[in-house]
Amino acid sequence: MAQVKLNNVVKNYGNVKVVHGADLLIDDSEFIVLVGPSGCGKSTILRMIAGLETISGGEIVIGDQVVNRVSPKDRNVAMVFQNYALYPHMTVRENMAFGLKMAKEPRDIIEKKVNQAAATLELGPYLDRKPAALSGGQRQRVAMGRAIVRQPDVFLFDEPLSNLDAQLRTQMRMELKKLHLQFKTTTIYVTHDQIEAMTLADRIVILKDGYIQQVGSPIEVFERPANVFVAQFIGNPPMNIIKGKCTRVNGAMTLVAGDLSLQLPEDKYQDIAEGKSVLIGIRPDGIKVRDVEHRIREEWRKEATVNVAEILGGQSLLELNISNNRFIAEVEGRMKLHPGDKVTVGFELDRVVLFDPETTEAIA
């Protein structure tokens, strides 16, 4: 187990810069998830940590060793690839034993470790099969087993579950979580899947175009996104962002957007310059439609017209028109509403996030 440190890590392909000075400190036994749009450099960062890609600038430290010039085999990291990369001519047992054999471990120890890992992953019955004779989920497990048996300092995962169907993915996700609780190995995990990121991560790293946008716990990046990009990338449906202004009404700091005016909570955003333009960010689940009288302060209740109502099993999505602003609201339960219906909604304004319209950064 080990800490992983990225100090101003840069990656160029010729003249093209794909990672721009990434700084990141990953604690021992932490589970870090890298997310971001396609092509933002997630795999590149992972592969630089693994040693499969050279580092163009800065340094990567694993444990207390700078590994820039250390070959992959000497970094003691294990990686699980999206296509599993199982050795096709070897049985499951040989696949899992390969790393240990390379490390010249004694035979009986290899045998013991492989059997242990196979038991953990319920691979016992398949040990003598070749990968071609396994299902996708079983192959996934073998890939995982191959990583576990070596007891590496760091696990690297590059979209390991993306080739599985939805059901299996949920199941494997939970097993991954259990494995991490059991082995406590430092883990760096790349995914496209928001739910995987939210459920697995101790901290999430959001990347865009090779720049780290924000690093924080799932709740932090959800509730206090550092900029508009994060606000809209994390969360589904994304955060509502509308243009507005800050003004004082009867001495109280108030957000105004068209005909909508909302008094800011007393402990937030009180020192913004009067008349400043802002982008107002409100999560879809921060707009309440049920039990509004009990849950929301009176100043934050507004009248709304339903444009569209969608029922998604356990919750409903509403597109609302509130004083000529369009909002998406995510409400629990099945709301039988129709276009044109009038409802009273309540804003959880203590969760509002304001962004600077020029820089799109969150305002402190």
């Binding site: 970094r75 990686m79 296509n83 990369a85």
Partner: protein, 274 residues
Amino acid sequence: MKSKVNIKTVSYYATLGILVIFFLMPAYMAVVTALKQPGDITLPTSWDLPATLNWASFSEAFAMLRPNLVNSFILTICATAGSTILGSLNGYVFSKWKFKGSEIIFTLFLFGMFIPYQVILIPLFQTLRAMNLYGGLPGLILAHIVYGLPITSLIFRNFYAQIPDSLIESARLDGAGFFSVYLKLVFPLSIPGFVVTSLWQFTQIWNEFLWAITLTRHSENPITVGLANLAGGQAVSWNLPMAGSIMAALPVLCIYIFLGRYFIRGLLAGSVKE
């Protein structure tokens, strides 16, 4: 389905039939001549079937060509093994361990494929003489190994392009270095590649004549040269060279009969996605 016999099909088959006869003519001539008594071989009767079968031509020819056959086997097996193994290593480097400039070097390598045997004959002769390898089998073996490298490297490079990079990367993370990745992973996965390449090399080297006659002294002559000597003297008994050439063709023929399907499969490998 009703079978349609019309002018078109008839003319197809007629053309094919004529071509088959045309292509098989030399083979027919070789077999009938080999089986005739030396006295029965005359120009006017050369197309006739033998009156009596003279199987002794084969044993006689074999006795005369035996040293050449042995030389050919040594030459072909050593040179095929050498060029195939080195080609496989080259292909491995050119596809999986690319380095700065490796594409350019590979392209230069490929030029070698387009150089005909004759063009490098004299420099080759001089080089081997300078290396003190002129006249013997080792020199010829070396020449064939080097000359074979471009094509074997190309076949293996394309073959290894099918092995996903992540397999190699996975093995590297599992602690394997350059040679252990090759020995434990790439080599076991490349048996079909070895079959294709060695078939190709075996045929080329077994059948090669020009270098063989120029670069080896009499006692080291391979079969192609031995055969030419058999046919080259005055007052030739034509049954002997014919029997000899049938024997000389046998190894290559057998290999294709038994391994040919691998050859076709190997050449097609990768052209369709699994």
